[in-house]
Symmetry: C2
Subunit: 126 residues, 2 copies
Amino acid sequence: MLTVPLDEARARELAEAFAVLADPVRLRLLSLIASQPGGEVCACELAGPLGRSQPTVSHHLKVLFEAGLVDRERRGTWIWYRARAERLEPLRATLATPRAATRGRTAPRPGGGPPGAAGRRRARPG
Amino acid sequence: MLTVPLDEARARELAEAFAVLADPVRLRLLSLIASQPGGEVCACELAGPLGRSQPTVSHHLKVLFEAGLVDRERRGTWIWYRARAERLEPLRATLATPRAATRGRTAPRPGGGPPGAAGRRRARPG
DNA sequence: AGTATATATTGGCGGCGGTGAATGTTGTAC
DNA sequence: GTACAACATTCACCGCCGCCAATATATACT
């Protein structure tokens, strides 16, 4: 959750994870896989509706797999993909904010006086 | 939610939003702003602890602002930033998956037989 | 063996994005 | 007015990434 400042290492981890989601092809792949009734899809069903070449789809599936967001299993000629919901949970939890958007709104100070700087002028707020 | 396949337009929207989060500096900025007790921070407090130059921080704050993830208000010399929790909610909701990770797991078919292809061989599953 | 299909990898191109030095703009105090 | 501080913008460099054609690999069937 965004209740405490992120250190650099954790921020880099999360940024890498979000970068995996920052592509429309990968998002569509993930939604196609996750929305499947049986929970799994053959990769041959994924190349078609995305309007991308087979190597491109294979590349994005590899990115999703190496990020741990999907699982795959070879059964004969075909490879079946499953979404890993437990890997999306931490990302989802990260986007939770401590307070509601409209609560705790302090009134703006028209004079521009920073909080805690009653006496001094031109000093950094804090 | 990932219960229905995303169309290309929606996938592009979401990908743009996630791309904003796909940077460690922006994630740290967002967490620094959101975790502030009063809910707001002066920009001058943000440039320091990130180890980046002032133009870089200014650039990332602009990206966050134009994405609607933070709000800003000028009060004299300083500019105060607030997190917009209501803009993070849709992204958070997107990452919800319909089923738990360990539920509904169908047993793998060792023969490789695709579902619905009882009679035919070498045909695409589905 | 050969042939066909499914998926992965390679290679190269083009574009986007993070970064900071230098510079510009805005606001306050004198 | 001048001087100083906070913040924004411009510019150029560099690296990464999405894309596809070609090719490679794997599996199945004859």
